[in-house]
Symmetry: C2
């Protein structure tokens, strides 16, 4: 039977073997939620980039610049980190260079994996289906917050574990922890997350609407996948 | 207000500042449970040692040798890692050199802290009281399993967070995660832990009695404390 494991922060990635895995990178608030939204609205490709300078240079090659640091839009960039900026004609047919505090770093650090896909609540069922049909073992890589774990990414990992539980064996205790948390939270995730440090941080930025949207399952069916350092759909 | 944070594995310790903290090191199955039991039964001192060779050398200085690797007693050592080996005349007045897979490493890595104490369910209330009376911020350091998180140490961290919640502010999401888990598990921790990887590993070693004992709160009132690289009470 295939296995599923959960790496609760990229700081622990060195403990996991990646070369037999499909890695699901998740940064619910808000990088991977934005990426999924952009592809659902027709973005052509997204290049995830760990540093701001490189991101700026991609402008010369026809890319929109996107991203945040500490939850806020980078000065001079075209777009920030709200999924509502990645809808409609804003992104249709566009190429996007994307940098964030945690999410793009998680992708960068996972590059040894056999396959990397992008997960969020917005495409939860499609990601689940993709994992069911693949032969690879699974590792969910939570982007966390500056190396530490966070609640929202752990909940998404738990949602995947819960949905796959009858088909896939768990490795170690992290999947179990995530699954317990998800089952505790699933009936009202917005309320459950109100105590979390990241949501408190984001509430100071007045983005309640973003949070609610990012926690809504199955808005989209796209499953973005890393091919030669770029995300495609 | 003082703060409490939880480091779910020693692999994440570099993310935390230690010099203003009381660190509570916890390795429920079974290093810190053994240490607390030994002091409650009159052990004079315990020197935690990360490697087996050094542990053996302490024999020449009048120490009992104790510890495990991968859950099993080290060949040639006087004692293994069951709390029942650390009771009565077996340990009274004795000096113990102790090495384990995860617990002693967690102590070693925490040495920059202002204070290090030893926690387990067996001395939960006494540890709680000690933390309430201290002026230091608090960091619970879970020993985990070979760098990964484990359920039982996370539960103990959650128990401390729950008991201190009205007096001490939480830092980040790890305390919140631990607290949720503990509240979910507290009415029947033995059953709750049956799905955990470590308990499955230990069950193969037939130590159900150890597990039940290690999960029983408040058997003892001792609070072991690291002084010049040795634990005293």
């Amino acid at each position: 039977m295939k296995t599923i494991d959960v790496c609760l922060t990229p700081e622990l990635l060195h403990l996991y073997s990646l070369n037999d895995k499909t890695v699901v990178v998740v940064d619910i608030l808000r990088a991977t939620s934005c990426m999924v939204t952009a592809f659902a609205h027709g973005a052509e490709r997204i290049i995830p980039i760990a540093n701001q300078e490189e991101c700026n240079q991609m402008r010369l090659r026809g890319y929109i610049t996107s991203g945040e640091r500490d939850g806020k839009k980078v000065a001079g960039f075209d777009k920030g980190n709200s999924p509502f900026e990645y809808m409609g004609t804003e992104v249709k047919g566009k190429k996007i260079a994307f940098t964030t505090t945690n999410g793009t770093l998680a992708i960068e650090k996972s590059k040894q994996a056999r396959e990397i896909i992008i997960g969020s609540f917005l495409n939860l069922s499609s990601v689940t289906k993709h994992l069911l049909f693949s032969h690879n073992n699974i590792l969910v890589v939570c982007a966390g917050w500056k190396g530490k774990i966070n609640l929202e990414d752990s909940l998404f990992a738990g949602a995947l574990v819960e949905k796959l539980k009858n088909h896939i064996e768990q490795d170690c205790d992290s999947p179990l922890v995530a699954q317990h948390l998800y089952n505790l939270a699933k009936d009202n995730m917005v309320d459950f997350l109100k105590g979390s440090s990241h949501v408190k941080r984001l509430n100071r930025l007045s983005i309640e609407k973003d949070i609610e949207f990012c926690l809504t399952p199955d808005q989209y069916t796209v499953v973005p996948r890393l091919v030669n350092n770029e995300l495609l759909c």
